[in-house]
């Protein structure tokens, strides 16, 4: 990408913050991470 370096840094940091917030949202039960179906090896 030919964006200026400052923009690249800002976009990268925004991406990381969004990623971490999404993970926290998932961990604090907005979705149910622990609800993974384990009904087997799908034989």
């Amino acid at each position: 990408m030919n964006l200026p370096r400052t923009w690249k840094i800002i976009l990268f940091l925004v991406g990381i913050v969004i990623g971490i917030l999404l993970m926290l949202a998932g961990i604090f039960k907005i979705d149910d991470v622990a609800q993974i179906r384990l009904e087997g090896s799908e034989l």
């Binding site: 990408m1 370096r5 690249k8 840094i9 990268f12 991406g15 990381i16 969004i18 990623g19 971490i20 917030l21 999404l22 993970m23 926290l24 949202a25 998932g26 961990i27 907005i30 979705d31 149910d32 991470v33 622990a34 609800q35 993974i36 179906r37 384990l38 087997g40 090896s41 799908e42 034989l43």
Partner: protein, 277 residues
């Protein structure tokens, strides 16, 4: 920061084996309990394919989780955050450094026989598999169709369960009844056999052609913090292509969607790795 050349290949093999293969599948209590691990760690996933139905699996498979959320039609907040965060930092490095299926492919490719390339257009198949088998079909059918056909699932879950087939401690019957092994099981075994043969004659064909996890990480490869660079005075000798487990031409294809950031190419003095935005 430029990373100096070390014996990284040995470290990579060690991390693939110890972290990817052994620690991720270390629930040895299954031998006594006859039931797979179902504790809190199973709610988390690893950044590579690892079937959570494997008798020894401790964590979940991210692709299994993604299908689960598609099937129950809920937004996968944790998974999406997990993909974005890891992808932005190291791109596809988990494929090279942790994935046990990648390790098996690397091992089988060492068998001395005639070798073949893989046509470039097949690189796009993994995106089709990701969208169709992992997202769309589970969304509409409520079934995990990629898991039903996954060759790695067949290898570390399907085969061990059928071979072992212990008595269910709750019901006193065999866990796998004879009528449970039908056409789908044999189809899965055929897919596994096909890929195992392909692994011997081509470099990492599953990663390049079929892996939906690789397809997700590949989206981040060009923008990730970890990058590789070929020097301008590179003589174009193509030695890097021989080092590369994905058969990439480093000068033009480094950090492309198939680069697994394994560091094998820095064996060549013209290639360097760096953390750079």
């Amino acid at each position: 920061m430029v990373i100096k050349r070390l014996s990284l290949k040995a470290w990579r093999r060690l991390s693939q084996t110890i972290v990817g293969l052994i620690l991720t599948n270390s629930y040895v209590q299954v031998i006594a309990t006859k039931m797979p691990y179902d504790g809190p760690l199973k709610g988390m996933c690893v950044p590579f394919l690892n079937c959570h139905a494997c008798p020894f699996a401790v964590f979940s498979c991210p692709i299994g989780m993604l299908q689960h959320f598609a099937a129950i039609r809920r937004f996968p907040f944790f998974l999406l955050g997990f993909f974005i965060t890891i992808g932005l930092v190291v791109g596809r490095a988990a494929c090279g450094w942790l994935c046990p299926f990648g390790l098996i492919q690397d091992w089988l490719y060492k068998i001395k026989t005639r070798k073949f390339g893989i046509p470039k257009f097949l690189n796009y198949t993994k995106y089709i598999i990701l969208v169709v088998l992992v997202l769309i079909i589970p969304y509409f059918t409520y079934e995990h169709w990629f898991s039903k056909l996954c060759p790695f699932g067949a290898l570390i879950a399907g085969i061990p369960w059928v071979w072992w087939n212990p008595i269910d401690p709750d019901f006193g019957t065999r866990i796998i009844e004879a009528d449970m092994i039908g056409w789908l099981y044999y189809l899965k075994m055929a897919i596994l056999a096909f890929f195992l043969i392909w692994f011997i004659v081509a470099k990492r064909p599953f990663c390049r052609v079929a892996c939906p996890m690789g397809a997700i990480w590949a989206l981040f490869n060009r923008v990730s913090l970890l990058k590789f660079k070929a020097a301008k005075d590179c003589p174009d000798c193509d030695q890097c292509t021989q080092y590369c487990p994905m058969e990439l031409k480093v000068k033009t294809e480094v950090d492309s969607e198939n680069c697994i950031k394994c560091f094998d190419c820095i064996e060549c003095k013209y290639v360097t790795a760096q953390f750079k935005i």
